[in-house]
Amino acid sequence: MKAVAAYKYYDAETVEEACAVLNQYAGKAKVLAGGTDLVDWMKRRFMPTPEVLVNIKKIPGLSGITEEGGALKIGATTTLTDIVENSTIQSKYKSLADAAAKGPPPPIRNMGTVAGNLCQYVRCWYYRWPDWYCYRKGGPICFAPGGRNVPHAIMEQKVCNAVVPSDLAVPLAAMNATLTVQGTGGTREVAVKDLYVVLGTVLKPDEIITSVTVPEAPTKQAFLKSRVRAGVDFALVSAAAATTSKGTTVALGGVAPIMVAGTPDAINAAIDKATPLSENRYKVSVAKAMVRRVTA
């Protein structure tokens, strides 16, 4: 029905090689993981599409779930199904398993990877189609405030009102998870809660997420998600809470273009200062109720 836009394919065998190709094409190459988001873009063509896709699934060691020294390490290309079905995650990091299970439907979970889930493009309905040339695409305006904004952000909007679509980011942020990121210039760590910035992520064009680390298993945790349909749909609002040796962190999904994470008090205060748009005031009360429930 819709053809994938023209591009060239590259099978990377090492992370270094992948970074090199990404670097060579300077932003016009993209990492191909499960492809569930990327192929959608290549078909809808809502923005100029990449010239090269660098498949990283064949790189040895990028996939897998291990627990070392009390920390959980998830390889970047680990699928969401692997997360849902992993017994360690089910027992000790349940909010993450819940978020994956309440994320995309099973066939997408079978393909979609943890890093791809974190890096997927926003689902704003103006953004996802070529008909609207909005701010996030380089256009002059965000259509949401003056248009239809039921699923949009209620806080931290700056110039774009799209929300972070990733369900996994929410419990990961609450559990203080970090990402190991490798580029041509070396390796660095990025906290999940700092991954998102105004119009995207802090990743540079040549950088690849190689793994996600949850530093310690929470002693108490919860994840909640509200959506229109019972079985599929991105979060209208989601919330996770995790109590660790560092205290309790609450993270909210579906409410902002960046991760909103902090202490329960800080989050409640942030909700009180929310700036909902014309059609999404409901999210304020949902967020409040959810924070109360995940921290109860």
């Binding site: 099978d11 066939p107 305006i141």
Partner: protein
């Protein structure tokens, strides 16, 4: 509301919206968002060149095949057009309806979202592989008997998704069945008889109780 937003609101969208994708190229640099930062070092030359297509090997319904695929082809289109397996239908091409679900390496996936070139070396099961020697599988048989489908367009996807579940778990609960099928859309049936047929095929439920005061079986 922040200052920026107010500013943005004031701009007339009419001036800027473009009817063509070509129009978007103007903003291409910004299109990659704030992550589009300067690249630090001169690129080390990669070992190979990116390619537009290649020969891939697939095992489809037990039969090994080698074929050339264009990088732009999805697995769904390749199955339908190159391998002549037209039982795999497509309802969206965006991974949102489940019609095109096939089993790849034991897991149900939407074949419209799999790039064929990325499926090199995989084992694929499609609806054509289910009936052996002209005999329907028990799952297919129950679905005919209990009228799981109406127009049937969604059927291949539902059946392959259900098969992947049953391969792993021969007697799934109703909740597990519903969860497994939650990515499949059917506009005709209300899903009721699809779930029921799976429960019946796995010997977990008799056909629903039929109250009848007359001659209806």
């Amino acid at each position: 509301m922040s200052e920026e937003k107010k500013e943005v609101k004031g701009v007339s969208r009419r001036t800027f919206i473009s009817g063509t994708v070509a129009g978007l190229v103007v903003g291409a640099a910004a299109a990659y968002g704030a992550t589009q930062l300067a690249v630090p070092k001169p690129p080390p030359a990669p070992a190979k060149e990116p390619i537009k297509g290649k020969y891939i090997s697939l095992t489809v319904n037990g039969k090994p095949t080698t074929l050339w695929v264009d990088a732009r082809w999805t697995l769904a289109n390749t199955l339908r057009n190159q391998l002549g397996l037209r039982g795999t239908t497509k309802g969206c091409d965006y991974g949102e309806c489940g019609c095109c679900n096939v089993i790849v390496d034991g897991r149900a996936v939407p074949s419209c979202m799999v790039l064929a070139i990325d499926a090199d070396g995989k084992t694929v099961e499609t609806i054509e592989g289910l009936a052996k020697g002209g005999k329907l599988s028990p799952l297919q048989e129950a679905m005919v008997k209990h009228r799981a489908f109406q127009c049937g367009f969604c059927a291949p996807g539902f059946i392959m998704t259900a098969k992947a579940l049953l391969d792993k778990k021969p007697r799934p609960t109703e909740d597990e069945i519903r969860e497994a099928l939650s990515g499949n859309i059917c506009r005709c049936t209300g899903y009721h008889r699809i779930v029921e047929s799976i429960l019946i095929a796995t010997g977990q439920k008799p056909p629903l109780e039929r109250i009848s005061s007359g001659a209806i079986p």
